[in-house]
Symmetry: C3
């Protein structure tokens, strides 16, 4: 069994952002030499997300409005978590909707994807250094 | 390490549907010969979902009403994604709530499930051909 | 390839609860002897969740209020599932928001975690015996 570990680093200028990381994950799969296996891609921070969906800016705008409706950032004092001095309770909620991680199959040395699957880093409390883990196992 | 890959194909007559695929996944595990390992079951299309819950039609009806409340299909022009000519923005949102994939343990050659766990394909924009990937690794 | 399987048992006195199980999973990783691999941690019951987020009681209180807003327990007769004699339809919905499982990387014999990642068992219909599965594969 082979294992390959890679960390991607992000520091988004905006509080919230959606970044396509498919190319980086594809590169990690090539580096691993794994032909058949699994790739785990996970946010290492609890106010961020890794998810698979469409690379279409209109959809990302829809996510943005929708997540703000389901878990609004303000008023920040509506959340007990923010009494700790943080203002990011909403980001902990948004991340549960969008998910922490994806697990992707590797078949014949490639990400085994449908026609529109793209991997995104979803940032909900940016403007600080954060990491994504790529862990590949297989043979 | 063994690896086994299988694709299930769906073309639901309705826009939204919930289909029990546990038997197909069970069959794939048997075909793989894997005794100890993991099975990834994932929707290859970004307006569909694979999730684990109860095989109870009343609950599926509850999911249907709940998802329509959280991410309504209409009015379709409320979503910027639909300006691309699609009318399925809501399906991209519903799929985030229900999830893209499940990872299931294989123990002693079988899906290691609790008493009520069943695997479902959740379709949110049907009436077209779509696939689900089953990837099994282990020994 | 090594495989290690462990079952954790819960019987919460309250209907809903959030329990940190990171120490139990860490112990299972040590027992497995796996240096490089993946750990699946999944709820074996369909009204419970395993998720990764912050060990901060204010945040858990926020989750509690938020989940009750998105999928309220009462009125129980608003859910068709409850016509089966159950009163836990809301728990099946809450679990979809919070997720069934997490997959965690094992690197150099340890859970490869960011600074605040902690694994939680989320119970949404407690006061009965339930299990969580930990499945570790790797080398």
């Amino acid at each position: 069994m082979k294992a390959h570990t890679k960390y991607l680093v992000f520091n988004t200028p905006k509080r919230r952002d959606y970044i396509n990381i498919t190319a980086e994950v594809t590169r990690a799969v090539a580096e691993s030499g794994v032909q058949e296996g699994l790739a785990l891609v996970s946010a290492m921070h609890i106010t961020a997300s890794v998810f698979i969906n469409d690379d279409e800016p209109g959809l990302h705008n829809d996510y943005e409005l929708w997540l703000e409706k389901l878990a609004p950032h303000a008023p920040t004092n509506a959340y007990r978590h923010n009494r700790t001095g943080e203002d990011n309770a909403d980001a902990h909620l948004k991340r549960q909707i969008m998910g922490r991680e994806v697990v992707v199959a590797i078949t014949k040395g490639k990400l085994d994807f449908g026609p529109w699957e793209q991997i995104f880093y979803g940032e909900f409390d940016g403007r600080r250094r954060k990491r994504v883990l790529v862990k590949i196992i297989g043979e």
